[in-house]
């Protein structure tokens, strides 16, 4: 990740929009070659210090004519991050201490010796070198090798391609703009479960609002506890991490409120269609074999007037969110049945699942809890206690029966 001093943004004041720096295939086609050269510098720069590596990068990027200093600094940071440096931890410190101790007797070291002071620069160096059993040259090389800008490159990720480096740059600049965000608003349609996972990981607080019923769409406003008292950029890094996660999700849009230096309210809009590519792999369509089987059953024998949607509803109570695995929905009147597959066996998991379902059972009128064909006694106990309709999954059982079970039990119990 970049630091906020690397951020390059363009302000569109008439539209109130902030655009982070972005390199694209057309305008910046020449960057591909430059990126290749930069990667080459690092890949062949093992043993060189950070300062001189950065100088190489500058000599590659500066002549492009359209590469401002911050962009150069950003590339240096991203390249540094793709490598690892020898911090010379301890070695240089010990060397310095030894040298200073030996030289303490020689103080002051003068340019030319005279009657008063006898230790000139050359003689002092020779004396120190002799006592340490090293050449002065080696001493000088290692003397400050632990200083950040003088640390030497130890290894570099050879698999990094020019395209990937440019993609990383675009993502990193967008993240750096988010450091200055005070609040973020997400629109999410499908892929809700994964978006919710990202939100939970971010540690932010949310307000969820369903803005469209069919197809379901949600607006999720995100910020932190102190945000109700004053706009604060202290959650900016969390927004940036959330973005990295969102890049592996489908069908989302992010609108961020950005604080500018002059205090004008600005926003930045990003979505899954912006061509930003993340480092996370996009997960498989279905989380488990079992979910896939369940969906297949429906496709083979769907119930007239009903549809099965995967992870398409967010239930929220305060700061708790839950996305049931499937929703069965009657087209005619929008009647829904929340379907949750409970197919994992550790007692902790069952306990947690039961707690979640208990908490959320009142936020939907119909539920269908699906357990495996031959559930364990623990499972039957834990789920049975919930008072929600329960079926054991059987491929031969028709989906019509799922609906009947769910509607019957809940209706009679709900009274």
């Amino acid at each position: 990740m970049l630091r906020s001093e690397h951020a390059i943004v363009r302000m569109n004041y008439s539209r109130g929009e902030v655009h982070p720096d972005r390199l694209n295939r057309r305008t910046h086609a020449h960057y591909l070659q430059a990126a290749r050269q930069c990667l080459h510098s690092y890949a062949n720069g093992i043993g060189e210090d950070r300062e001189s590596l950065h100088r190489h990068i500058e000599t590659v990027l500066r002549p492009l004519g359209d590469c401002p200093p911050r962009r150069i600094a950003s590339f240096c940071k991203l390249l540094d991050d793709a490598g690892s440096f020898d911090t010379a931890a301890g070695r240089s410190v010990r060397l310095r201490q030894r040298v200073f101790e030996i030289a303490a007797d020689l103080h002051p070291i003068v340019s030319q010796k005279d009657g008063l002071f006898d230790h000139d620069v050359d003689a002092s160096r020779q004396r120190v070198a002799a006592e340490l059993g090293m050449s002065w040259r080696d001493i000088e090389d290692a003397f400050f090798a632990d200083v950040l800008e003088l640390q030497r490159l130890k290894a570099f990720d050879a698999s990094l391609t020019p395209e990937r480096l440019l993609a990383r740059y675009n993502v990193a600049q967008t993240q750096a703009t988010l450091y200055r965000a005070t609040r973020v608003e997400l629109s999410a349609r499908s892929d809700l479960k994964r978006v919710v996972r990202g939100i939970k990981l971010s540690g932010l607080m949310h307000r969820i609002e369903q803005v469209h019923a069919d197809p379901p769409a949600y607006r999720i406003r995100l910020d932190g506890p102190a945000a109700v008292l004053r706009g604060s950029t202290r959650y900016g890094v969390r927004f940036a991490k959330l973005l990295a996660f969102l890049l592996s999700c489908r069908d989302w849009q992010m609108r961020a409120s950005i604080r500018t230096n002059d205090g004008r309210p600005m926003r930045m809009v990003i979505s899954d269609r912006d061509g930003l590519t993340g480092e996370h792999e996009q997960p498989d369509e279905m989380d488990s074999q079992w979910e896939a089987e369940f969906a297949k059953c429906w496709v083979k024998d769907p119930v007239d007037g009903w549809e099965l949607r995967r992870e398409s509803q967010l239930l929220s109570i305060g700061q708790h969110v839950f996305t049931p695995d499937f929703v069965l929905r009657r087209r005619q009147d929008g009647q829904t049945i929340q379907v949750e597959l409970v197919g994992f066996w550790t007692p902790e998991y069952l306990k947690e699942k039961a707690a979640t379902l208990t908490k959320f059972s009142a936020s939907a009128s119909h539920w269908l809890i699906v357990v495996p064909k031959s559930p364990s006694s623990e499972q039957q106990q834990a789920m049975g206690r919930l008072g929600l309709s329960l079926i054991a999954f059987d491929k031969r059982r028709r989906p019509q029966q799922w609906i009947e079970t769910a509607l019957a039990t809940n209706d009679s119990e709900g009274g």
Partner: protein, 484 residues
């Protein structure tokens, strides 16, 4: 009136108030800055209002309050007698702070023993305390002082350590980062060099804590109204103030400033003039287009986007030229010669050399083979050099600005400054370090080496006009101005 049960808990640097009836909430809003929060159905306020809130709730009838923040322990602190002997001015500071309700600012010049005042107050209040300091070095120094004078192994938060104890020391940045998690664990906050707190982000270090007792220490409180009122809100009013004039003679030695001007070499001067011309040309061109153009605008231009790439590149070039000029001033070969002469002159006594950059500090360190303190130095190495210098193992010390802000230096009578001082505050802080009281009463000397005919001379003059210098007794003759 209906009886209601109010819950208060600490949530990431804020207080969450639940179970408040509407009428009560409206009254509360009139007295304390709070906000309704529909996200988790509560009323929220900054943690720093904890004491006000508690008192407010105590005054209400028909309510019970379940206060769910961490409890603050009463501590037994075994102060050593040496820590308890206070000079009369220190006694005054302690008294004013306690009489002022345990919330406010104490201003005392560097070298007058602010730490002693703070330690005494820690002993007085004997409660969980977080000390917040500007740099990591000071964190370890406070740790040592607390250990030797209160007999407590204080926790450390920052510099890769996260050990939270009832008495802990941290830096401003770490405090601002971690306060959402530790903000209800301390009843007392001590801000060393409190002026750092007025930065927008660092304010959270005070805002996100529930501590009712707040002490802000500084050698130089901000003079502008806005910053001072921010400190007033976050810490408290100014309760005690001692100027450098009052302090000198009593606890500070008098000192002399000697400015030594050096000339650039012929090559340095030529290069310097070329760079000046480049900058002047750029500024003139910009003024042709926009008469209101000022040099400061160059930074914005250089950072701007590729649309105006040519201007941006020229602006960037001008900035580089300006940096190169400073670098020529700083690295002027003749300065190194003057430094050599001064080190000869003071070969038999400890000398501290201040530089304006890490690069210069390293360069001098390698030339004179003297220990240098850089901003990234690990604590162990810094302590080794500071202790080694104090005990005379090292004859002199080279330091970058890392030693700003009252890092405890051994008593020094001679300091040499090579560029890098740019504000009144920095000047005061640095001077404070050569102003340590000594028994012999010999005057301390501050040498300033500047290049002639350059901006450095102007900056040095500006500095002299600053109050910090004007208030200081100073004896200076024309002869002092030039190296012999």
């Amino acid at each position: 009136m209906k009886h209601s049960a109010i819950g208060v808990d600490f949530h990431e640097g804020t207080l969450r108030i639940t179970g408040c009836e509407r009428g009560l909430a409206d009254q509360l809003r009139d007295d304390i800055p709070v906000a309704m929060d529909d996200r988790d159905g509560c009323i929220r306020t900054d943690a720093m209002h904890a004491q006000r809130l508690q008192r407010w709730l105590d005054r209400q009838s028909n309510i019970t309050v379940d206060w769910q923040t961490a409890t603050q322990p009463c501590l037994k602190l075994n102060a050593r007698p040496s820590a308890m002997t206070l000079r009369s001015d220190q006694q005054d500071a302690v008294g004013e702070f306690i009489n002022g309700g345990g919330r406010g600012l104490v201003q005392m010049p560097t070298g007058t023993g602010k730490t002693v005042v703070a330690i005494h107050l820690m002993k007085h209040f004997a409660t969980s305390t977080l000390v917040v300091v500007p740099v990591r070095d000071l964190m370890y120094q406070w740790h040592d002082r607390i250990a030797s004078q209160l007999g407590v192994d204080a926790g450390l938060i920052g510099d890769g350590v996260h050990r939270v104890s009832p008495i802990s020391v941290t830096t401003y940045d770490s405090a601002a980062i971690h306060m959402p998690r530790i903000g209800d664990r301390f009843a007392m906050l001590i801000f060393d060099e409190v002026h750092h707190l007025s930065g927008p982000w660092r304010r959270d270090a005070a805002r996100m804590s529930t501590a009712p007792i707040r002490l802000g220490l500084s050698a130089t409180l901000p003079t502008d109204f806005d910053r001072l009122s921010v400190l007033g809100e976050l810490v408290g009013p100014t309760l005690y103030q001692q100027t450098i004039r009052e302090a000198s003679g009593q606890s500070l030695a008098e000192y002399t400033v000697r400015r030594i001007t050096v000339k650039l070499s012929a090559e340095e001067q030529t290069r310097y003039d070329e760079l000046s011309k480049q900058i002047q040309g750029f500024v003139a061109d910009q003024r042709d287009q926009d008469p209101s153009f000022r040099w400061e605008d160059t930074f914005k231009l250089a950072g701007s986007h590729d649309e105006e790439s040519e201007v941006a590149q020229r602006a960037d070039g001008a900035l580089r030229a300006s940096r190169m000029k400073k670098s020529i001033e700083e690295h002027a070969a003749s300065k190194q010669r003057v430094l050599e002469d001064l080190l000869r002159l003071h070969a038999d006594e400890p000398v501290i050399v201040f530089t304006g950059s890490n690069v210069m500090a390293r360069k001098l360190s390698l030339r004179f083979l003297l220990p240098c303190l850089l901003s990234h130095c690990a604590k162990k190495e810094r302590r080794e050099y500071l202790q080694g210098f104090a005990t005379g193992r090292y004859p002199a010390l080279i330091a970058n600005r890392v030693l700003d802000e009252g890092v405890d230096l051994p008593q020094v009578k001679t300091a040499i400054v090579l560029g890098g001082m740019s504000s009144g505050r920095q000047a005061i802080q640095r001077l404070g370090r050569v102003l340590r009281r000594t028994d012999e009463g010999r005057r301390a000397t501050l040498y300033e080496i500047v290049t002639e005919g350059t901006k450095e001379v102007m900056r040095s003059r500006d500095r002299r006009r600053n109050d910090a210098y004007r208030n200081t007794p100073r004896r200076q003759s024309r002869d002092d101005d030039h190296a012999s």
